[in-house]
């Protein structure tokens, strides 16, 4: 799956969880840029992302996500290894 496709999936998930009509995500996006993305919704987001892509993050991996780009790279790596 290329990163554009991953972003399309992610944007859909973010809209559902954060109850928004539109969410724009880029490599540089962090939680501080998106209203409503806090500790509580972060868990729901990670959970939905894992389910959508059929992958499982490790705590260490989540801890190292500095932005959405890091998460996308991790998703790609996991999908490639499947």
């Amino acid at each position: 799956m290329d990163s554009n496709e991953i972003y399309a999936h992610l944007q859909k998930i973010y809209c559902t969880i954060l109850k928004k009509d539109q969410v724009t995500l880029t490599d540089a996006t962090t939680a501080a840029d998106i209203d409503g993305w806090d500790s509580l919704t972060h868990m729901l987001l990670m959970d939905s992302v894992e389910r959508e892509f059929g992958i499982k993050f490790k705590l260490m991996e989540i801890m190292k996500f500095n932005n959405v780009g890091d998460m996308v790279a991790c998703i790609q790596k996991k999908l490639a290894a499947k």
Binding site: K19, T30, A31, A32, D35, D38, S39, L40, H42, M43, L44, D47, K58, L59, M60, I62, M63, N66
Partner: protein, 491 residues
Amino acid sequence: MSFRSRLYNSINNNSSHNALCINGCYCTYKQLAERVAVVQQTLIQQSGSLDRIGIVLSDTVDTYAAIIAILLLGKTYVPLHPGHPGERIQQIVSQASLEVVLAASATPQLAHIACVDMSFLPSVSSTPVLSDGDFSNAFAYILFTSGSTGIPKGTPITYDNIDSFATGFYAIGYQLTPQDRCLQMFDLTFDLSVVSYLMPLCAGACVYTLPDKGMKFTNVYSVLEEHNITFALMVPSILSFLRQYFSEIHLPQLRYSLFCGEALSADLVTEWQKCVPNATIDNVYGPTEATIFCTWYRIDTTGTVGATNGVVWIGKPMLGVNTIVADDEGNLVSTGEKGELCLAGNQVTPGYLDNEKNKTAFFTLNGERYYRTGDLVLLHSDGNYIYCGRSDHQVKIQGFRIELAEIEHHARTAFGCHAVAIVATSPQGINQIELVLETEATNKSDIAGTLKSLMPAYMLPAGIHFVKPLPLNINGKTDRKELAKLIATAI
């Protein structure tokens, strides 16, 4: 020995040890002492006779230096959170009669008040001062909690209150040394921060705060793991967040794992025990009014946990704390019957700043002055207290105490309709606030924006719902239970 003397000695005797680790940067006791001395000099010069000092909080060495400077001088600190709405800060400033405020960087706009930017104070090589005198009845800090009328409620805690807490803390057996590394995960407007920085600093240990970027629960774990933390007081919701990763967590260096601020789930803590094989795990309980915490329950190392309805007991009173269970009229209930937990002893505040509130919150029985906690408990036959919920509409969300009535007050005033705040549990088992407005559906982000300008972030609802008309119970009052059911299907 008073905690002030302990703190003073610790700062002088541990010069080369690390005192603080903030965003990965260490600060030794010597460096901290220099900043404490500078702040003290400024306070003595600029506000000689003023006792109450506001501190605009930031995650900096200077914020902690300011707190220590004030405590060693026997004055009173009032934490001000720069992220809270301006009107709320102004209410605190006027209720606490603050005339001078210390800030570690850019300062908020505060009317009629002198503001000292500590970042401009040059470091000098002098040493901190410990003021002589009897400060036992002086206020060490004043913390403001949610008030049901929309006005924050100021609770002063005296030097004697803190000394009594410290005596109880040591009597439990917590022994911190200069080799300990301690977690400080709390906002400084919240009294669990006091035990998290003060007890380590009194012992020459190092205090680790959370990085300001990223998610709180992952930050908590990364600090625990990276810095081999040995003492950690946390809110139970951190465990709910981390639960799905427990199999990856192994923290053998943790000696003390304390939980406070919310109901602790017995299942969760039993699983946590495997992650922290060498830790003593205690569930501690207490309101701000009785200084940080005042009862404690130790989780047995064999895995048997005293719990009722899946919630770990809050245990027995600390040394010097007297407890009774009373009914609405202040009469004792029979052992084993449910009632309101009332607290007496030297940890209990002398009373709120607003004297009106003291009439209902405190009462005297057999010569002892008791504080009504509003918490319903049962006394188990083995002497442990069992927490059974609140007698009013106060709730705790991630440890923050919130009057649902305050949220309702702000929403009602802002939107001109009936507003009901209820607590709902997310699928992950985390409590969150949901706000129901009795009006036609309208733009939720506008509503959220308005609420943000009125209340601190921890009070903001996770979801907004429109229900018209509101369901009523048989007495014609809003049926909160029915609403809760409605909302549960919507989150």
